[in-house]
């Protein structure tokens, strides 16, 4: 494909996306708000953002198959946690768990930790429960459940994608140093979240 047709495709898709909000002109209200609210929810909290990007970074460091297994695992387990939160089932220490996830994931990236795959998946899955539960209990009433959930999951997946994309610099020596530094930043942020959670 030449670059011009590719641009035409991109412009066409952009037009579709921009056209979509015009579909508000139906009887029920709040559908589009549901999708975009869901899309914005995972990026509304820095603790969630850093942890999800760290999952992608760690996956990129670990390489295949972790690079795709972790991002496949996290959204599903997180959604399971979200479902539990939606049902009102309490989970003690959610904020502490989220802060711990940032600390440990940051440490894993900083030290380029390479545990067995099952351990990495279990760790990420455990953290996913806490993040999902927090999101589930925060989900606003009166939204379109389906569109909200679609936006929510897509945003989460895209955050992992960002982490993986950035983590691809791991192939270069300077990139490995930068990734370790990024892990340190996530860890420090996690310590701050922990202080905020227990203070």
């Amino acid at each position: 494909m030449k670059s011009r047709p590719a641009r035409a495709w991109a412009l066409g898709l952009l037009a579709v996306l921009l056209w979509a909000p015009l579909a508000h002109a139906h009887v029920q209200q709040g559908q589009a708000a549901g999708f975009f609210t869901g899309l914005g929810h995972p990026v509304s909290g820095l603790d969630h953002v850093l942890a999800m990007i760290a999952v992608g970074l760690w996956g990129a460091q670990l390489g295949a198959p972790a690079v795709w297994l972790l991002p496949v695992t996290f959204p599903m387990v997180m959604a399971l946690g979200g479902m539990v939160g939606l049902l009102g089932v309490p989970l003690p220490g959610v904020e502490v768990g989220i802060a711990t996830s940032a600390i440990l994931l940051g440490l894993a990236v900083m030290s380029a930790l390479r545990p067995p795959l099952a351990v990495a998946v279990a760790l990420v899955g455990l953290f996913g429960i806490f993040h999902g539960h927090a999101h589930g209990t925060e989900l606003p009433a009166g939204q379109s459940a389906l569109l909200y959930s679609m936006g929510f999951v897509m945003a989460t997946g895209c955050l992992h994608g960002v982490g993986i994309a950035v983590g691809l610099i791991h192939r270069w020596p300077w990139g490995q140093t930068v990734l370790r530094a990024a892990g340190a930043v996530v860890t420090l942020a996690g310590v701050f979240f922990m202080w905020r959670a227990v203070a």
Binding site: W9, V16, Q31, M83
Partner: protein, 206 residues
């Protein structure tokens, strides 16, 4: 459904287009949407604007695409036929969009895609038939109220056929590991959406 010679940017653009359509924030019960072009196109638009149907069909197409040509060909005809049959039954019945049915469809299909489940041909055929009957019934029941009616159902079935053909023929020739992983990640997203929907459905009593 032989391997097309579509090059990578075309494929990525096609996937992006499908995603864009799937996330169009529009009315789920599109029997209220009129195109001005007649009930056939109203039905077609109903499908395009109803993510509970669109994503389900897309997930099934991804699943049969991962399994290969024979699965794709079978689903290409079984799903629309079952959808039509369920729709005809539904035209005489009652119902509407069912959140829990949508949620279970998403979890089942998304989970199977994410795990790249090695289902036999009979299992994917049965899956296509059951999904077609269920979603078709709900469509038919919705269309029975003032709306496009039976002709609209034909539009929906045509759209189902087209989406299965396009999506499955896109996935069938994928051989690169990363490309199949992308499909599986899409499946995990669909399953995750379904899990959240189960929570929503139980909480709201839908």
């Amino acid at each position: 459904m032989s391997a097309p010679t579509m090059r990578l940017p075309h494929r990525m653009a096609a996937v992006a287009g499908a995603v864009a359509l799937a996330v169009c924030p529009s009315r789920a019960e599109a029997h209220l949407v009129t195109t001005g072009l007649g009930p056939l196109y109203d039905g077609l638009l109903h499908f395009v604007l109803a993510p509970e149907d669109l994503v389900t069909v897309l997930a099934l197409a991804l699943l049969v695409g991962l399994r290969g040509v024979s699965h794709g060909r079978r689903a290409l005809f079984v799903l629309p036929a079952a959808w039509l049959l369920g729709g005809v039954i539904g035209l005489a019945g009652h119902g509407g969009v069912s959140l829990i049915w949508t949620a279970l469809s998403f979890v089942l299909l998304g989970g199977l895609v994410a795990s790249d489940a090695r289902l036999p041909l009979g299992a994917t055929t049965l899956l296509a038939a059951l999904l077609g009957l269920g979603h078709g019934y709900l469509n038919g029941a919705a269309l029975a109220r003032p709306g496009p009616g039976a002709v609209g159902l034909l539009g929906i079935v045509a759209a189902v056929f087209t989406l299965v053909a396009l999506a499955a023929s896109f996935v069938v020739p994928l051989r690169a590991v990363w490309a199949r992983v992308v499909v599986r990640v899409a499946g995990s997203w669909i399953a995750a959406i379904g899990l959240l929907l189960i929570g929503w459905a139980i909480r709201s009593g839908a």
